[in-house]
Symmetry: C2
Subunit: 802 residues, 2 copies
């Protein structure tokens, strides 16, 4: 199963166990004699951890990914994949600080000036994120431009040579082979080195910002593979864009810089140590994602809105302002470097990897009568988008079942590359649509069978990077394209793009969607112009833009951020209203049939993704029904052996443990005192923070927050901690390490209420208490993500260890 899941899943964990150096270290509960384990050991009953509440069929089993050693598993050839499943293997990010004594002491020690320094550091990091993201985007752009240019020149020369003397099949072979071999390299590095770098990375970043930890998603290695992968995919002529991956790249850059170290490179720069926790890291990753969008589309505001739409639960003005800063810097960097590269230094008018070109509101204005037409285009976009997603859904299911070996994946990618080249070639070959070369903006005009001074117009669409094709469709003067050409192109490209998305290559779906939409939009505009006898307002470029928006909206279903991205990429504010209408219509129509592409893929991964609100009809459920029981609690002063046993219990890999005060006199369970995390306990055990039972009055070893930060985020598994038999009988005082004020809800709270608290504060554990403040259950992400609004009302997903 793992083998199958790995290919589809973004983790590829199995392969990395050795790299992490843990798989071999499974020496649980060895009788080592640690520094804190001296004589005087007394027996303590195992009743010291409490199991409260009745056993339910659901196990509290948040994934303990970074902690647990992988066990070898059976690998079936086919898995029955079920979308009504929620995986237990994903860990949550903790957006809530564990406000324990150590933390409070540190915060209290820091004075106002020091906080200002921290704040300045945040800004510096954001500036660095922006600059680096911009530079990475430049790098991708320049390399793609040169390599693709080289490829097209070689193929063009070859075609030109063979057009005269016959034997164009050699040209086709050359083209297909070139594409396939480039894509092969791109696919191999992704499939064999870092599978999480496959695809656009947007679903992964959505999950991360939502609070789900996707393994390896923000590692340096992922970034390198992503960048190389996307260059090779685009150069390989696949129906992909280089924009989506920028978002992922930005996020990785942000995660790396903000932590001031790289685990992959084993370098710790000893800076920014204050930011080594989930809360801060996630904030920076938001900024990185925004910077990525900003660099990709020249849309700094769109980038901010993307990050907010996907990630923000709690809106914070300062954070948003910083995110915006990173976005702006990113666009500006890209703009400056590219302007220098293109020779017209200091002309900062081309922000973004894709630039839709100038839409002049005077030449291309719209009138109120066109609004219904735009809405109609939105409907078409919604339907076509839903079709795209449905096809891709079946394809993905097929891939999950049958194409799960890396080799097969590489072969599929090569096949797609060859087919894409072949389709393009055949289409160009069959097309008899010749256009005068003069005054056109085609980069590699293919003459083929056209008269001298003319070029094959189908080649503009196929014999070009998709970005350039989009801009051409937007801006070429009316009459540049034959309706037949556009129709055939739309049809072919639609299926190619659909087949391509989900391949094991690093590539985005934005540009192909825009291209499909622009093609049918332009076709629509031409038809309209024909129907209205060439009335002036039917400029095909304008309709190409609306078609592009409709198609993209129909596929990805983003709302506000996409509108703003489109507005910024066109540089025209007056187009905002029709674009919004088109996107809204496309979303409504599309949602009627099938989910958005990203959401679909997230669901296929069984990720416990939290939406904005609890399902509307879930008021009938209360915390009592959704919570997980029994909860493993710890006492404030606990026996080390008990702690080790609980942590080693693989049947219930809990990550958070309520700390309770059990009255020694009575058997009565007493109230909640705090919450402690597995990672904290691990660090405590590792540093031997405990005292002998006989000498409880002794002060146990003091730890600093730094000890916890150094271990973050890859805490060792419990099996790697050596605890001797003597040490097992020692006592550990959790008071100063536990969070003494965890958020709680009463059992009677309704699901929407629990959901709101959990989502708004970005929690990982929410303790359910009764009227006497006694722990009765625990709500974690998967308990909330399980409830979903299906076609027939509220439905509950089942949980599985896939």
């Amino acid at each position: 199963m793992a083998n199958v899941a790995k290919k589809v899943s973004w983790s590829g964990r199995d392969r990395d166990d050795d790299e992490d150096g843990r798989a071999g270290e499974t020496t649980p509960l060895l009788n080592g004699t640690g520094p804190g384990a001296a004589g005087g050991v007394r027996q303590l009953t195992p009743s010291s951890f409490l199991r409260i509440g009745q056993l339910s069929n659901v196990d509290l089993n948040e994934d303990i990914h970074e902690l647990q050693t992988e066990l070898p598993r059976q690998r079936p050839n086919e898995i029955p994949h079920n979308e009504k499943l929620l995986s237990l293997k994903y860990e949550s990010l903790d957006y809530d600080n564990s406000e324990n004594q150590l933390f409070l002491e540190e915060e209290r020690r820091i004075n106002h000036a020091a906080f200002r320094t921290v704040e300045i550091k945040r800004w510096v990091i954001c500036a660095m994120i922006g600059i680096l993201t911009g530079l990475v985007a430049c790098f991708i752009d320049i390399v793609v431009e040169n390599l693709a240019g080289l490829k097209y020149r070689v193929v063009k020369d070859n075609i030109d040579k063979f057009t005269a003397k016959g034997g164009l099949s050699f040209s086709l072979l050359l083209w297909a082979t070139l594409n396939a071999s480039v894509v092969m390299v791109g696919s191999v590095i992704v499939a064999f080195i870092e599978p999480v770098a496959a695809g656009s990375g947007i679903p992964q970043i959505k999950c991360y910002l939502n609070g789900v930890k996707i393994p390896h998603v923000v590692r340096l290695k992922t970034l390198v593979i992503k960048v190389c992968g996307v260059i090779l995919s685009v150069v390989g002529g696949l129906a992909v864009g280089k924009e989506g991956p920028m978002i992922h790249s930005g996020a990785v850059i942000a995660a790396g810089i903000s932590q001031g170290r790289s685990t992959s490179l084993k370098r710790d720069f000893k800076i920014f140590e204050y930011f080594r926790r989930d809360t801060e890291k996630r904030d920076f990753v938001s900024a990185g994602a925004a910077a990525g969008v900003s660099a990709a589309f020249g849309a700094p505001v769109g980038g901010v809105l993307f990050s907010l739409e996907e990630g923000a639960s709690f809106w914070n003005q300062f954070l948003t302002w910083r995110i915006f800063f990173a976005s702006m810097i990113s666009t500006f960097t890209l703009n400056s470097v590219l302007s220098v590269y293109h020779g017209n230094a200091w002309d900062l008018s081309s922000p973004g990897l894709i630039n839709f070109g100038r839409f002049d509101s005077e030449k291309m204005g719209y009138t109120i009568q066109e609004i219904p037409i735009f809405i109609f285009m939105g409907v078409v976009g919604g339907i076509l988008g839903a079709l795209f997603n449905a096809l891709n859904y079946w394809l993905t299911m097929f891939r999950i079942r049958y194409i799960h070996r890396p080799c097969l994946q590489v072969v599929e990618a090569m096949l797609v590359a060859a087919v894409t080249a072949t389709v393009g070639f055949v289409m160009i070959y069959c097309s008899r649509d010749c256009q005068p070369i003069q005054g056109s903006s085609v980069a590699y005009p293919l003459q083929l069978f056209c008269a001298d001074g003319e070029y094959n117009s189908m080649a503009t669409a196929f014999f070009n990077t998709p970005e350039k094709s989009v801009v051409n469709l937007f801006h070429d003067p009316p009459g540049s394209y034959n309706p037949m050409t556009l129709g055939m192109f739309t049809l072919m490209y639609f299926f190619l793009a659909c087949w391509t998305y989900g391949l094991t290559v690093s590539a985005g779906v934005f540009i192909p969607s825009l291209l499909i939409g622009a093609a049918w939009g332009r076709l629509f505009g031409i038809s309209l112009s024909y129907l209205t006898k060439g009335s002036i307002w039917a400029d095909p470029g304008k309709y190409a833009l609306m078609g592009a928006a409709a198609q993209l909206g129909g596929i990805v279903r983003m709302t506000l951020s996409l509108t703003v991205i489109m507005m910024e990429a066109t540089g025209n504010v007056t187009y905002g209203f029709p674009i919004m209408l088109v996107l809204m219509t496309a979303k409504i129509v599309g949602d009627y049939f099938v989910e958005g592409l990203y959401d679909m893929h997230i669901q296929l991964q069984s990720v416990p993704f939290l939406h904005w609100e609890a399902p509307v009809t879930s008021h009938s459920l209360t915390a009592r029904e959704v919570m997980s029981t029994p909860v493993t609690c710890l006492r404030r002063i606990e026996r080390v052996g008990t702690v080790v046993d609980i942590l080693s219990d693989t049947s219930s890999n809990h990550n958070g443990f309520p700390v309770v005060e059990s009255n020694p006199d009575t058997t009565q369970v007493a109230g909640l005192r705090g919450l402690i995390l597995r990672s904290q306990l691990i660090v405590l055990l590792k540093h031997k923070v405990f005292v002998e039972r006989a000498n409880l009055s002794l002060v146990q070893r003091r730890l600093k927050l730094k000890d916890f930060r150094d271990a973050y985020p890859r805490f060792p598994p419990i099996q790697s901690i050596h605890v001797s038999q003597d040490e097992r009988e020692c006592m550990i005082d959790l008071s100063e390490f536990m969070n003494p004020s965890p958020y709680t809800v009463p059992q009677e709270a309704s699901l929407p209420r629990v959901f709101k608290l959990f989502r708004a504060l970005g929690l990982r554990h929410l303790v359910v208490v009764d009227n006497r403040n006694e722990v009765v259950g625990m709500v974690t992400r998967k308990d909330l993500a399980r409830y979903r609004l299906g076609k027939e009302g509220l439905e509950e997903l089942s949980l599985a260890q896939t």
Copy 2:
């Protein structure tokens, strides 16, 4: 005191007691015999309400504005106004639904389809908000244009007449009288009818969105006065803009439409009853404010960001998308109507009341070398903005102390109007800056002493509505203005605008700020051009824009939203980066000296405004220290007399009461069971929802949610509820009306943690409990707003009943 406070405060409540029909109805505790008050009365000890914890010097005293009857107070002539004060008179909005049994039953009854209907209604309301806001903006624009045109024509004819034959003092007299009389009307309606309509309304809306209920702020009457007031102020030639008030207008429209009734008009349309609660209303008001910004500046995205920046605590995708929809509709409506009005129907290229005109990136691009210059302009803007705010602060203090009678306020407004006209006239008169009339875009060219075919260039700035002057400064070709003219104009207008802000007229500060900035920015550009020997990149228009941004940023200190508003108003995305840098610099520099104008005025009103985060150095405070004690608790089954006594206790006007289960056997206080609001108790008492003590088994009267919604938002005061002596001995069962799962925090939680919970969920009451879930205190808005980061670290504001 009240009299004084009223003028400054936005409430003007004192005046409205009669209107509300409550002041005369203070008949507390009358021995009426209500329907539920039959025989069999037993005595219940007053100990049935508990006072827990030690008495602190702070009284739990959230304002019960809508509930409490005003008592006549002494009115001193001067109040010692202290900015280190937090007023107790402001009530909080409750963004958290009271999830009691009635609510849950209703929500559970509603099926999926019904929820969809509710959702559709939300969209319809947003569309209506957008349309109406757009129409109101059109109305203001058209009326102002016509009236101002009329005025300028009359004055111009007069000046033209007297220039030749001498006696220009008559013209001055005419101009000043015209202005003063128009402003008098505008000031009278504001001062005597609805003082809350004074100013731009942005601070008030900021407070509302922050969760503070400002009396009368979203009433229909306020809207009418606001619209008329702003027209009269602008026509009266004051240094004001009509943009700020649009935000307030949009908010009022939203509040009105979403409730489906008008209390002012005493009409209830019986629609949208589902939305009659603070949560929903506040969401719609956000949309209204966004629509207002959108209509004012043609900046739909800026509008959304404004609403989010000011209001959002919990970001919700659907809500944001709806807000954006309202914004877009608003811009579109304005655009359509104005395009029809201006004759070029269906040309939708002029969105917004103010249109900065086309900034062509080709003609007016910027280079990287200019960035430091822009940053320098930001510094200048920050300093000038701080100066503006500091001056206005002293002026406001003066006004609070001495100009608190409506008559005086009207006189001051007239004086300012006359002085503005005089200054303008003198400046024009003294100016010898003549420009050729040909090719210029001046609406009312004053020839005065210029040669034929020329006009007085100072008149472009003064003899015009400020909006037009701004656009002229941005776009007039280089050489249109004499540096001397610009310098004098900046100086004069700076002081005039500063004097004008805070007058009892309805007017905004955006446009005057932009105008001041544009003037010195252009001057700066001219100097630069002179210094660099006319180098091409020193286009004065570009510098005027940056100056305008710097000045506005220095005064209002808005960040992201202002950047986006400026970007959208210029319609140029490439200017985003320098504008952001300028605004950021201006904010940093300005913040060093003094707060932003809006924040300053909010603070002068002693409003308990919650910022984004708790002060950074407040980790040393815990809930125990910030909470209010003692808390008045109610028992689940409580004696009616006790409830009435508690509600009538004017010394501690609590608004939320924890409901506890006190064990009848022991004296021990038992745990928290729920929370009930004053307004709910009032409705219960009004509907006589109680049973005789002897017949506790009897079912008490059932209420529906509708009963609570009908009373919303103006619940009657307790004094208007007649409870007979018999009824006092009845018992009331609060179980199904209380919120059984109020949010709680343990005593040990630090202030930032409490703050985060309170702010993120928009709470009004947060119960502090101990380890056994017993109530020990209550945290309300003012407990959190009290702590502020001053120059010397954390400071605590004192609370006062001002």
